[in-house]
């Protein structure tokens, strides 16, 4: 059933849909960034589509992607866009699901926000911004949600080391205190 939704989408927006795919019983449509709002509005308002419920919004960072058992052309290189933002939608009435994937380059990590269409994406887009640094244009309140404001960097990017802490507070008498420079002499 979702396959029909995918075909209808491809038929309605032939220029916006870069390609479609059906993998592991998921229906995926790759959408161009500039046409995202138009496509999303149509998906929500069209009675045959009726995608009224949002599921999730996340981002994939392809920096280290070197798939085993696949030709080297599928490995990531500098010419390909670094991020892919995924939106999964579902329909309560029609019971079909679709995933929209939008490729976002690293030098211009912006995307139109879908928070007006589906309120759940408000917080989910904040989370994607917090973790990956993708800016959503038109978002009502884009700020960090999981991490604190003083945090520098976007931790889920592949080039952020896992154990790089940025502590806010430490005890004064800790022998090794990252918040204070090492003294030459200890009492």
């Amino acid at each position: 059933m979702s396959k029909q939704a995918l075909d209808a989408l491809a038929a309605k927006f032939p220029s916006a849909v870069a390609r479609t795919g059906s993998a592991n019983s998921d229906e995926i449509a790759w959408i161009k960034r500039d046409d995202l709002l138009a496509v999303a509005t149509w998906l929500r308002d069209d009675p045959a589509m009726a995608f009224d419920s949002p599921v999730f919004c996340t981002c994939i960072d392809w920096l280290d992607y070197r798939p085993v058992g696949r030709p080297p052309s599928e490995h990531w290189n500098e010419s390909k866009p670094r991020f892919t933002v995924c939106y999964q939608l579902r329909s309560v009435a029609k019971k079909h699901r679709i995933r929209l994937e939008i490729e976002v380059p690293e030098n211009d990590p912006r995307l139109p926000s879908l928070a007006d269409l589906w309120p759940a994406f408000d917080w989910q887009e904040r989370e994607t911004f917090d973790m990956y640094g993708i800016r959503f244009d038109g978002h009502p309140d884009l700020r960090r949600i999981y991490l604190y404001e003083e945090f520098v960097g976007y931790p889920l990017r592949k080039d952020y080391p896992k154990e790089k802490r940025q502590p806010l507070v430490r005890r004064d008498d800790l022998p090794i205190n990252p918040l204070r420079p090492l003294k030459k002499e200890h009492h």
């Binding site: 991490l147 802490r165 502590p167 507070v169 430490r170 005890r171 800790l174």
Partner: protein
């Protein structure tokens, strides 16, 4: 004699933690009437609820009533993972408690960070506040928690909790200065 007063390390404290017979009575009272502040963050909270529940009753040790205000409690139980974002809140809660106060790090996340070694989970709550008893386990069985509580109660009776030693050390420094002031 030169007292090693610049530290509250428990090994050094054994020298001057001996109590008179009279001092044992308030400590006995304190250990059997602990008011816990359960600083619950994560999964260990479920085991904390089980410890307070009828089967592994914590009330038989006198520590039943959680006081949800730091001003009214004396045992801070750090239950669950402490993250960097939570650090200032934890420090503030600890500072608001009145002396003498004790801290139990409940669970391995609060003790050393557990198996979370990443940019947000703090490697143990003792990076921020001094901890008296550590309970390993993910989550610890309720029997482990009760064992730790008994251990803490022994510490309280001997006067060797961090806060009690700090108070004692401050009293001794004041006494020493008064003595040198007289001379």
């Amino acid at each position: 004699m030169g007292l090693e007063l610049s530290t509250t390390r428990l090994e050094d404290a054994a020298k001057w933690a001996k109590q008179s017979k009279l001092a044992r009575i308030p400590e006995w009272g304190r250990k059997f009437s602990l008011f816990t502040y359960p600083f619950v963050t994560a999964c260990c909270g479920m085991e904390f609820m089980s410890v307070a529940a009828p089967k592994y009753d914590i009330a038989r040790f006198g520590a039943e009533f959680p006081r949800f205000s730091p001003r009214q409690s004396d045992l801070l139980m750090i239950v669950g993972t402490i993250t960097e974002k939570q650090g200032p809140a934890l420090k503030r809660v600890y500072d608001q408690m009145a002396e003498p106060k004790w801290v139990i790090a409940f669970g391995v996340c609060a003790s050393t960070g557990g198996f979370y070694q990443n940019y947000h989970a703090m490697p143990g709550a003792d990076q921020v506040i001094p901890v008296d008893v550590y309970i390993p386990g993910c989550p610890p069985r309720p029997e482990q928690v009760l064992d730790a509580l008994i251990l803490l109660m022994d510490r309280i009776q001997d006067g060797r909790g961090h806060s009690q030693l700090r108070l004692k050390r401050d009293a001794m420094i004041a006494a020493q200065e008064a003595q040198t002031g007289d001379e």
